[in-house]
C-alpha cells in the first residue's frame, strides 16, 4: 500500500508538470480528470490505520465529481466557445516547466519544516500538496484564457485537498463536504461565465476583463 500511495503522489506531481507544459485544452482537461481520479483513490491508501468507511464515500464522490462531472462541464464549455489551444501564455511552456521544477524544490524545503501528522504511511504527501498548490497558482497567473484559469484553479484545489487528506482523520465531515461542493459550484459557475465572457467580449481572454475595472 505504501508503494501505491507513493506512486499515486508522484503521478499527481507528474501530471501537474505535464499540464504546465501542454498547450492543448482538451488534453489539459483530460489530464485534470486523470489527476482527479488519482486523488479519489488516494484516501484509501494513505493512512496506516487503513481507511474509515467514510473515506470510501469521500473517494467515490471525489472520483465521480473530479473524474467525470467537472471535465464534462469544461469540455462542454470549450465546445461552446470553440477554442482548442492556449496560444499566448504570459510565461512560455518551457519556462513554466522550469518554474514548476523550482516550485517543487521549494515545497520540499517548506515541507521539511512542517511537522508530519501522525498516522501517515508516506512523508511525501505534504510536499506534493504544496507543490500542487503552487503549480496551480502558477498556471492561474501565467495563462490568459479563462478555461486554462479554471484548470489552474482545479489543480490548486487538488493541492488543498491533498493537504486536507493529511489530517483527514481529524477534519470534520462538514468541511470535506464543503470543499467538494465549493469546487463543483465554482466550476459550474465558471463554465457558465466563460460562455458569457465569450459572448460579451468575443473572446475568452481574461485580459479583456481589465475593461471592467473602474
Amino acid at each position: 500500500m505504501e508503494q501505491l500511495s507513493q506512486l499515486l503522489l508522484a503521478f499527481i506531481v507528474f501530471l501537474s508538470l505535464y499540464l504546465l507544459g501542454s498547450s492543448s485544452l482538451t488534453g489539459c482537461i483530460k489530464i485534470v480528470a486523470l489527476q482527479g481520479m488519482c486523488l479519489g483513490l488516494l484516501p484509501l491508501t494513505i493512512h496506516s490505520l487503513g481507511f474509515h468507511p467514510r473515506a470510501l464515500l469521500l473517494a467515490a464522490g471525489m472520483f465521480i465529481l473530479k473524474g467525470f462531472v467537472i471535465p464534462r462541464v469544461l469540455l462542454y464549455a470549450i465546445r461552446e466557445v470553440k477554442i482548442r489551444r492556449e496560444m499566448e501564455p504570459m510565461i512560455g511552456y518551457t519556462l513554466s516547466l522550469l518554474f514548476g521544477a523550482i516550485l517543487i524544490g521549494v515545497s520540499f524545503v517548506l515541507a521539511e519544516r512542517l511537522p508530519v501528522p501522525p498516522g501517515l504511511r508516506t512523508n511525501l504527501l505534504i510536499p506534493v500538496s504544496l507543490a500542487t498548490v503552487m503549480m496551480g497558482m502558477l498556471m492561474m497567473i501565467s495563462r490568459i484564457k479563462a478555461v486554462t484559469q479554471v484548470i489552474g484553479y482545479l489543480v490548486f484545489e487538488n493541492g488543498i485537498y491533498l493537504f486536507g487528506l493529511a489530517i483527514s482523520y481529524e477534519i470534520p465531515w462538514l468541511i470535506e463536504m464543503g470543499v467538494l461542493l465549493d469546487v463543483f459550484v465554482a466550476v459550474f459557475v465558471m463554465g457558465i461565465i466563460i460562455n458569457h465572457i465569450a459572448l460579451a467580449f468575443d473572446s475568452i481572454s481574461t485580459e479583456k476583463l481589465t475593461r471592467l475595472s473602474d
Partner: protein, 658 residues
C-alpha cells in the same frame, strides 16, 4: 425548548414549500398562513411557560460547525421578543397574502413569501441563540432575508439603490459584531453566552471597545442617529407587509442585542449610560423632526421608527443609569419602559405600515398630497389608521402611552438626587418629541384620510379585502387592550426587564404591582373618557336625526372657485413648527412665485434630504477616497497580477513563519 425549534422549523419548511409551490397560489397561501399559525402556537406556548415562571431547559447539541455547540435557551427577555416577533410577524404575514394577491403581480410572490418567512424564522432563532456563532448565523440570515425583501421589486432603480445601501450598512454592523464577539470570546475562552457572563471583567480599554462595537453593530440595525441612513430608504422600498415586520420587529432586534449584552456583561459605567440617554434623545428628536416634513407616508413612518428607537434607547440608557447608581428600582423602571415601548412600537408601527400599504394599493402612490378624503371611501382602513396614529402619539387610553409613561416616571422621580435637573431637561425633550409626533401623525392621518380627495385615484379608492383588514384590526385591538388593561403587558415587560437588570423575581414583582395599579387607573380613565364621548356623540346624532341636519361643503372663505388642491399640503401643514428648525432641517425649496398681473405659471417644490446620508456621508466618502487614491493604483483589473499578489503573499508567509 423543542417548541422554539418547532416554530423555527415550521417557518423554514413553510418558506421552502411556499417557494416551490408558487404555481399553486392557493396552496402557497395556505402553507404560509399555516406555517405562521403553527409557529405562533408553538412559540406562544413556550413564551407562556417562560413568562409564568416555569423552568425551560436549554437545548444543547453538538454542532457540525467546529468550535461551537448548538445552544438554544430562553428567558423572559427572549420570550418577550419572541412573542412580539410571532404576533407582529404573523399579522404582517397574513396581511401579506392579501397584499400580494391585490398587487396583481407588482409584488413578486416567491421572494416576498420566501424571504418573509425566512426573516421570521431567523428572528425566532435569534432570540433563542445562546452562543455567539448561532447568534451571528441567525443575525446574518435575518439581514440577508431583509435584503431580499427590500429588493423584492428590483425593477425600480431606487429600490436597487435602497437595497444596496441596506446591504452595505448591515455588513458594517455585522463586522462590528464579529469583532465584538471575538473580543468577548478571547476573554472568556469560549463563544458561549454563559461563558461571557462568567468571564472575568475586561480591562477598561477593552470595555470601551466592547461598548463602541456593540453600539455601532446593534445601532446600525436599530437605526441610532447617525447610523440610521438605510432606514428611510429601505422601508419605503420594501413591500408593506415586509416593512411592517422590518420596522415593527427587525430593527428592534438591535435593541434586543444591546439588552442581551447588558444582561450578560452587567452594568455599564455612569458616563456611558448618560451617553446612551443623550444618544436616544438626539435620535428621537432627529427622527420625529424629519418625519414631520416627509411627503411619502412610508418614509414618514420610517423616520418615526427612528424616533421610537430613540425613545426606547433613552429608556435603556435610563435603566443603565439606574444600574450604575446602584438603584435596582430605577433600573427596572427604565428597562421595563424601554421593553414596553418596544412591544408597543412593534404593534402600532406595524399597524401603520399595513394601513399605509392598503392606502398605497388603493391610491397607487405613496405621496400624501395625492390622497385626501379617504375616510369616505375606505372607512375601515382610515379608522384603524387613526387608532395607530393616536397610539404612536402616546395618547391614552392606547398603548403608546404606557411605555412612555414609565420613562417619564423615571425622569420625574424625586429620588434621583443631583441628576434631577438633567432628568427634567430630558423629560422636556421627550415632551417636545411627543408634541412633534402629534404634528407628524395628524398630518399623515389628516392629509390622507380627511378633507377632499386630491386626485381621481383617491376619489375612487376601494377598501382592501378582509384578509388585509383582519390582521390590521387585530393589531389595533391589541393596541387598545394594552392601553386599557396594561397589567399583562407590564408583567411581561417587567419580567424581561428583570432579566436585563439581573434582578430576582420577588424584587421585580414588588415594583410591578405599584405601576400596574397606577397605569390601570389611567387606562380605565382614558377608556371612560372615550366611552363618554362616544355616548354623547351618538346621543347628539340620534337627537339631530329628526331635525333634518345636512352636511354641506366646507366654507371656502368666500372664494368662488375652490379646488381640492387648496387644502393644507404636506409642506404647509407643519410649517409653524418647521420654521423654528430651518437651520437644522435645511429644506431645499424651489419657488417660482406668480409674477405680474396675469400670472401664467407658478410652482413650489420642497424637499428635505437626510443630512446624514446626503450631507455628512459624501464628505466622509470624499475623505476616504483621498486617502485611498494611492493604494487604488494596485487595483488595475488584471486578474493574473491579482493572483500573483496572493501567491507571493502566501509564499512569503510560508517561508517566514515556517
Amino acid at each position: 425548548m423543542i417548541l422554539l425549534l418547532a416554530a423555527v422549523l415550521a417557518l423554514g419548511v413553510a418558506a421552502v414549500l411556499s417557494a416551490s409551490l408558487f404555481r399553486h397560489g392557493h396552496a402557497a397561501r395556505i402553507i404560509v398562513i399555516g406555517g405562521l399559525a403553527a409557529a405562533a402556537i408553538a412559540g406562544g406556548a413556550l413564551a407562556w411557560r417562560v413568562l409564568w415562571g416555569l423552568e425551560v431547559l436549554d437545548f444543547i447539541r453538538p454542532w457540525l460547525v467546529p468550535g461551537a455547540v448548538f445552544h438554544l435557551g430562553i428567558d423572559s427577555l427572549s420570550a418577550c421578543f419572541l412573542l412580539l416577533v410571532l404576533i407582529v410577524g404573523g399579522c404582517a404575514g397574513v396581511y401579506g397574502e392579501g397584499y400580494i394577491a391585490a398587487s396583481h403581480g407588482h409584488v413578486p410572490a416567491i421572494p416576498a413569501r420566501f424571504f418573509f418567512l425566512v426573516l421570521m424564522a431567523s428572528m425566532a432563532l435569534l432570540v433563542g441563540a445562546r452562543s455567539a456563532i448561532l447568534f451571528m448565523v441567525a443575525w446574518e440570515t435575518m439581514a440577508l432575508a431583509a435584503f431580499g425583501l427590500v429588493s423584492c421589486e428590483h425593477g425600480k432603480p431606487e429600490v436597487r439603490k435602497a437595497g444596496f445601501l441596506y446591504l452595505l450598512c448591515t455588513h458594517i454592523g455585522s463586522l462590528c459584531l464579529l469583532a465584538l464577539f471575538a473580543l468577548l470570546g478571547r476573554n472568556a475562552g469560549s463563544l458561549e453566552f454563559s461563558a461571557f457572563a462568567a468571564a472575568p471583567a475586561l480591562p477598561a480599554a477593552q470595555r470601551t471597545a466592547v461598548f463602541v462595537l456593540a453600539l455601532v453593530g446593534f445601532g446600525m440595525k436599530a437605526g441610532f442617529m447617525p447610523l440610521h441612513i438605510w432606514l428611510q430608504e429601505a422601508h419605503p422600498a420594501a413591500p408593506s407587509h415586509a416593512s411592517a415586520a422590518m420596522s415593527g420587529v427587525m430593527i428592534e432586534m438591535g435593541l434586543y442585542g444591546l439588552m442581551r449584552l447588558l444582561a450578560l456583561l452587567g452594568p455599564v459605567s455612569m458616563p456611558a449610560a448618560i451617553f446612551l440617554v443623550a444618544l436616544g434623545l438626539v435620535t428621537a428628536v432627529f427622527g420625529i423632526m424629519f418625519a414631520m416634513v416627509q411627503r411619502d407616508f412610508k418614509r414618514l413612518l420610517a423616520y418615526s421608527s427612528i424616533e421610537n428607537i430613540g425613545i426606547i434607547l433613552t429608556g435603556v440608557g435610563l435603566g443603565c443609569c439606574g444600574l450604575a447608581s446602584g438603584s435596582p428600582s430605577l433600573a427596572l423602571l427604565g428597562f421595563s419602559g424601554a421593553i414596553l415601548h418596544t412591544i408597543n412600537h412593534g404593534l402600532f408601527k406595524s399597524l401603520l405600515f399595513l394601513s399605509a400599504g392598503a392606502i398605497y394599493q388603493a391610491v397607487g402612490t405613496r405621496d400624501i398630497e395625492a390622497c385626501g378624503g379617504l375616510q369616505k371611501s375606505m372607512p375601515w382602513t382610515c379608522g384603524l389608521t387613526a387608532i395607530g396614529a393616536a397610539a404612536i402619539c402616546g395618547l391614552p387610553p392606547l398603548n403608546g402611552f404606557t411605555g412612555e409613561w414609565l420613562i417619564y416616571s423615571w425622569l420625574l422621580r424625586p429620588d434621583i438626587g443631583h441628576g434631577m435637573r438633567f432628568a427634567a431637561l430630558a423629560a422636556a425633550i421627550l415632551g417636545v418629541v411627543g408634541a412633534f409626533a402629534v404634528v407628524a401623525f395628524s398630518k399623515c392621518y389628516g392629509l390622507t384620510c380627511l378633507g377632499q380627495p386630491r386626485s381621481e385615484a383617491a376619489r375612487n379608492a376601494k377598501e382592501p379585502s378582509w384578509i388585509m383588514l383582519g390582521p390590521m384590526a387585530l393589531l389595533a385591538a391589541l393596541c387598545a387592550i394594552i392601553g386599557v388593561f396594561p397589567a399583562p403587558a407590564l408583567y411581561v415587560a417587567f419580567a424581561a426587564a428583570g432579566n436585563v437588570a439581573r434582578l430576582a423575581r420577588p424584587a421585580v414583582s414588588s415594583g410591578l404591582d405599584e405601576w400596574s395599579r397606577l397605569l390601570g387607573v389611567v387606562g380605565l380613565l382614558g377608556a371612560g373618557v372615550c366611552a363618554l364621548s362616544a355616548l354623547l356623540w351618538s346621543l347628539r346624532r340620534s337627537l339631530l336625526r329628526r331635525r333634518g341636519v345636512a352636511a354641506g361643503p366646507t366654507w371656502g372663505c368666500g372664494f368662488t372657485a375652490p379646488t381640492a388642491r387648496m387644502q393644507y399640503s404636506g409642506a404647509s401643514y407643519p410649517v409653524p413648527v418647521t420654521r423654528v428648525f430651518t437651520a437644522l432641517l435645511a429644506t431645499q425649496e424651489e419657488v417660482h412665485p406668480p409674477l405680474g398681473y396675469w400670472p401664467v405659471k407658478a410652482s413650489f417644490a420642497s424637499r428635505t434630504p437626510d443630512p446624514a446620508l446626503e450631507r455628512w456621508l459624501p464628505v466622509l466618502v470624499a475623505k476616504c477616497e483621498d486617502w485611498l487614491s494611492v493604494p487604488r493604483r494596485l487595483q488595475h483589473g488584471r486578474l493574473q497580477l491579482y493572483l500573483l499578489y496572493v501567491s507571493a503573499f502566501l509564499v512569503v508567509i510560508l517561508l517566514w513563519k515556517l
